[in-house]
Subunit: 267 residues, 4 copies
């Protein structure tokens, strides 16, 4: 199968941000390629939903942390489907809060493989063809942990910070060559059953309810922002953007309006 | 005149970002109120162009640095036109690079009046009604100088940093009350005849030519991003976003791809 | 009186950071000039204590927010005492947390006059002579509010952000001319009876007790860091540094070690 | 050999920052343990110089990127020499500017092993004993690349950003337990023959000359700042500090005083 549509590739296409971004780009005229680690059935469902809505999509299972997998996917997609116009690197590396002694070497390394190295490998494999075509976009989902390191986030924060800085070096090298790299700091919980849902398990629904109406990011809303980023003309590119629900305290704040600053009066 | 359309108010409505934002919101169904300091003719032209394109707009001259003016405009707009749904604070405070000895006290103070205090006054006058209505947006055009202080930018950087931090405190207090505050770091030159054009004078066209194709931000493109921000649902609000042409070196970088890092090898 | 000692000038010399810095520099061989707004008795006490410890100091009352006062002090000090080798701008602008409607225009303006404009005026008046001598230091006490804007901090955060960015523009212009500008982000409560003590009133002692042993910054300890900054040779200058008690959560963090990240799982 | 002196451990003890920090701490009464990858002769020379100056030191060769090496060193030091009071992680990961296609997977991974993972491993192995003793310091040399990603710095910037964020998570977990973690952003070239000297080869002397008098950081000066950090009492700890020569443009600036802002007028 080949397509004349521009191709949108999602690495990390669960039922949250990845799946909704795929749907949004498909609705906008792209062929969406959805790649995820497991759950063939869930993947097929996402593809079907896009097709039922009149869009074009295909899916593939992929263990992104394994050498050669992302590389093979890029090669196969470009050859069998078409030139990748936009890719979304959407793999998370959040494992919850863990003290240092509860964060083994292997966990820290896996965080880096998913959080930083996978994006490097994707860029290595995909950007040369984009450079040759003189255009392309690389959207990167990221997290608060990329800009500050909370207690318990050793693996996640180091991995996401590496991701963020890699986005900057990629932007510095490739923006002048026509490639748009955007780093999205998702600073709030997302209604994502395949990631946050699995992390919280049977507490997920209660958690969402506790956040109140519109207290959790709707991945369809975030997908609209991804779409906007990918459509910006090259005279006006955004490299970094944040997003959170209106009820969430921004990561840099510690004072809800209802409280006085008990922690650091004077500071 | 009153309107059933939502009202979009621009303070600083020249032929660049402000005027294009007004046109974009008018095209999206808003009534645009354009306020600027001078040039009645230029203002009338912007209003006419919006009306000729089928939109709704009105204009007013305003010396924003003078006490009471912004306040009166808010009161008049809410009373005579309709509830302000979204406002854009678009006043610049750039005066070019000047050494400290060449930056008089009065210049520094005026920078603050336009850069920081005007936004405070606008918020003071406008937000209570938005809070009562439980919704509204405040978009704020800002500059690289808000995040780093270059040589010669004493007045501009101090004023823009105050603007940025005020956006954070406004967001912290008002986001939970349904008001979306967004701070836009414009990190590149804008094709804005009324501001940059006047700063550079007859060197403006040569400057733009020197930047190459798509080397200067098209204010219509930036207006599209403002529109996107104003349409984000409250579960997914952006507070800060940057924008620059693809050819521009981002403010945090100093190494064009063509060069090696001559400045700080090892650092 | 004139002195052969290098002169250390403190603007904002209460019994906290300012007074302890004066004592530290006096112990290191400087003549300390202490300027503060009020409390002649308190001022005399600080001067006496320095002299009793074998140091050299003098004091003056000064309403820094009034035009001409800082300027006159600089002129008088340089003429009557000696060349200012190092100055500390130590005026605070913290007024506690106040909602926007509870922050009048005049409060916001006063915040700027003390927080930002006073430093600009000091620089204007003092730096030319330092440039002529090819050396000098300007230490600036700052606050967490300079780097993030919490709810209720409209006046303080805008003023401190202006202060920080002004430090960057001053550094950019004057470092290459031999003037060391250092911006100190005090990210914790200081045991300062004349500022925090007055803000908290009779709750000050209980507050300090609640923070535990070493839970509040000892201004003598911070003064040691100021001393270190002023002694750095020009091949190795620090522009920005933070400080907080070991028990305080850093401003960018929200998760004490004892808690899980309840706020934003996944983000 | 065991010592009653507090132990200062340097990982990355060349003739630049590491060696000078060892000498400074030895002069201050510590026993310095110097670890480096190669050059047994150079290592012996550093140890001798410290001993000749009346200090106490010992040295060891160590391939820090190899599993188990740092861990064994910690265990051996604590057992044979004494409790580590302060450690300096001083391994660099700078390899010069390289385009993405010239940065192989293995290079990127090695950057992470030295830049991020080694610090994680050191913390894992060393902090539990410090926690038990209720005190200790971890100083971390870092680079501009930790806070912004320049073109060509893919490997270095991702690794240093991971290092910086790890310092934040370590600080968040361990500061309240009495462990001081400090992240030093070295934003300038250091007169370090074993790192920058090797990177620049026979151009090193010409490079230093081109920077002018005091235009390169003297590692002895920086060592004085490390010493200061390690001596801060726990009520007043610095987590992050920068340093550069007075002639260097700070990383966030792009305008030397002698130039106008040609790049982004208006921004």
């Amino acid at each position: 199968m080949t397509t004349r549509k521009p191709v949108f590739l999602v690495i990390g296409a669960g039922a949250g941000i990845g799946g909704h971004a795929a749907a949004r780009f498909a609705a906008g005229g792209y062929h969406a390629v959805l790649a995820r680690r497991s759950d063939e059935e869930g993947l097929a469902k996402l593809v079907s939903e896009i097709e039922e809505a009149g869009g074009s999509a295909s899916g593939t299972l992929l263990n992104a942390s394994e050498d050669g997998t992302i590389e093979e996917l890029i090669e196969r997609t470009e050859r069998d489907i078409g030139p990748i116009d936009c890719a979304l690197y959407n793999l998370g590396a959040q494992i919850g809060n863990r003290a240092l002694h509860d964060t083994p070497h292997s966990t820290f390394e896996l965080g880096w493989r998913l959080g930083t190295f996978g994006l490097f490998r994707l860029s290595h494999a995909m950007l040369p063809a984009m450079v040759e075509r003189g255009k392309g976009s690389l959207l990167v989902t990221s997290a608060t942990a990329a800009v500050r390191g909370n207690a318990g986030q050793h693996s996640h924060a180091a991995a996401m910070a590496g991701r963020r800085m890699l986005c900057q070096t990629l932007n510095a090298e490739f923006a002048p060559q026509g490639i748009h790299v955007a780093h999205v700091v998702v600073d709030g919980s997302v209604d994502a059953p395949d990631t946050l849902g699995k992390l919280l398990g049977d507490k997920f629904e209660a958690y969402k309810a506790s956040k109140g109406e519109d207290g959790v990011i709707d991945p369809a809303a975030l997908a609209e922002t991804y779409w906007h980023l990918a459509q910006q003309p090259r005279n006006c590119w955004t490299h970094e953007i944040d997003a959170r629900p209106f009820t969430d305290v921004a990561w840099w704040n510690d004072t809800p309006i209802s409280a006085i600053n008990r922690g650091k009066p004077g500071a």
